[in-house]
């Protein structure tokens, strides 16, 4: 699924040079900062639900919730929102396996939903997520938190919380790995450095 988003442009070759942008400790600090910003902007995060976009948005949402709980003692419900069936390029690629959509038991009606994703690029995934949300309920408002904003938007969409802005060329790609899924916490920029 994530591969599909990045493959909207030419992919760097497998042996392309890469550069580490964020390491484990940097990534934790970035998550902490987003958690603080959420608390500040939402006046304590009450009435808020975090919905991670699979795959890596989901562990990020859980990490944010854990940090918010550690800082303020507020338990923010966490869910996941699979956007596969709402993608506008569904028909252009081979059939994709579905991810999980799991809403917190209270649903999302009347609540502030914060979508959580790892990389914000064209904005098309966020558009798909907004369409998916519309079928699931009526939140009072929707915000967007991303670990990395790499630019190149194709739709009028911006994030409310950004971990790190990484100016990229279209020929480059941003790879986020998280310990919950991968071997380490890391953000890498691949290609275009020579």
């Amino acid at each position: 699924m994530r591969r599909g988003r990045r493959s909207a442009v030419a992919q760097p070759r497998a042996d392309a040079p890469s550069k580490i942008i964020l390491e484990g400790s940097d990534l934790s600090r970035v998550v902490d900062r987003i958690a603080h910003q959420i608390l500040e902007k939402t006046s304590g995060a009450t009435g808020t639900v975090l919905l991670g976009i699979p795959t890596r948005g989901v562990p990020l949402a859980h990490r944010l919730a854990a940090r918010i709980h550690a800082f303020e003692g507020v338990a923010v419900p966490v869910g996941s929102l699979d956007i596969t069936l709402y993608r506008d390029d569904l028909r252009l690629k081979a059939t994709r396996a579905l991810g999980k959509t799991e809403l917190p038991s209270g649903g999302i009606d009347g609540l502030r939903v914060i979508l959580v994703d790892d990389v914000l690029f064209s904005g098309r995934s966020v558009r798909a997520a907004l369409d998916a949300l519309k079928d699931l309920g009526r939140p009072s408002s929707v915000q967007l938190a991303v670990l990395v904003d790499r630019g190149h938007r194709q739709l009028p969409i911006r994030a409310d919380y950004v971990g790190k802005n990484i100016p990229t060329a279209l020929s480059e790609s941003v790879k986020v790995t998280l310990t919950e899924i991968d071997s380490a916490d890391e953000v890498k920029l691949i290609g275009g450095l020579q």
Binding site: R91, A94, D135
Partner: protein
């Protein structure tokens, strides 16, 4: 992913598991207020039914509509088929209309295989003669997995008219692919030696229902297909019911966790007693609901991508 679903033999374990996992996600849709997904918007699914069927046709129709596809229902009765149009000419008409998928039910075994050679779209077998009914097998497997948590190592008894049953054939193929142990149970006339020999590698055959029940996790009762009974396969309905019907005393011989399945429509009082059909251990109504989710998964996986 495969292009057509003509037989349960088209599915390897990985693909079958992908369908079941996708169906589990599709099932969450039934609890939502908006029971619709945009995945197949602009696609056309034709339900081409040469044989009567209510639940399968409605199930495919609901599945396609929930994925936002356009659905055309075509039944042989009242169509040009009754004027003598051949399957090939009907297929060419559908081809010209740009059908992306054709769901076919036909009394002739092998009709979906022929159709797949004539149309560009995907072909889904919704039951062909006494041959196969793969989506029924998938929904049965899905029901077993959701009730009992697994398929690998599960002991499944398929009871009754195995000879004429496309449900039994597809279930044997799919369940053994997914690691279940299948035992066919029924009178020797309805599991003749050649059928038993053909399935011998994958299944066991037993002619005594009472001997099989205590060691079964799933007991799947088959409908006695009176419309296909040209010969005397058993002396009388009462005799059949006494030896192979599932009644309350027989239900008690099954392990506590075991479930009772039936593909429907049921002959209540013949192969299954009403109190068994309506007991909490029966999954018959659940199977119908799961049918929509499984068919959504099949249509999405066949048509959703390039």
């Amino acid at each position: 992913m495969i292009k057509h679903l003509r037989s349960a033999a088209d599915l390897d374990a990985e693909t079958a598991t992908l369908i079941l996992d996708t169906a589990a996600e599709m099932a969450s849709l039934s609890g939502r207020e908006v029971k619709k997904l945009p995945a197949l918007r602009g696609r056309t699914v034709v339900n081409l039914f040469y044989e009567d069927s209510t639940r399968t046709r409605i199930s495919f129709e609901a599945a396609a509509k929930r994925l936002s596809a356009d659905v055309i229902n075509f039944s042989a009765k009242g169509s040009s088929v009754s004027k003598g149009e051949s399957l090939k000419d009907t297929a060419l008409t559908l081809q010209a209309m740009g059908a992306d998928a054709v769901v076919i039910r036909h009394s002739a075994s092998g009709a979906p295989h022929r159709l797949a050679g004539w149309v560009d779209g995907s072909v889904v077998n919704a039951g062909d003669g006494t041959h196969e009914h793969p989506t029924q097998a998938l929904l049965d497997a899905y029901t077993m997995r959701s009730r009992l948590g697994r398929l690998d190592g599960l002991k499944v008894a398929i009871v009754g008219d195995v000879l004429h049953s496309r449900v039994a054939r597809s279930n044997v193929l799919l369940l053994t692919t997914l690691g279940a142990q299948v035992t066919l149970v029924g009178p020797p006339t309805l599991i003749p030696l050649d059928v038993a020999a053909a399935l011998a590698e994958k299944t066991q055959v037993c002619y005594d229902l009472d001997a099989v029940l205590p060691d079964s996790d799933v007991v799947m009762m088959l409908r006695v297909q009176t419309e296909r009974m040209q010969d005397s396969y058993f002396p009388s309905a009462r005799e059949y019911s006494r030896r192979y019907g599932l009644d309350a005393p027989r239900l008690h011989k099954m392990p506590g966790h075991a479930i009772v399945m039936h593909p429907g429509p049921m002959n209540r009082g013949m192969e299954i007693a009403p109190e068994v059909a309506d007991s909490p251990r029966s999954t018959i109504v659940e199977q119908v609901a799961n049918g929509v989710s499984v068919r959504m998964a099949v249509l999405y996986l066949l048509l959703g991508g390039k």
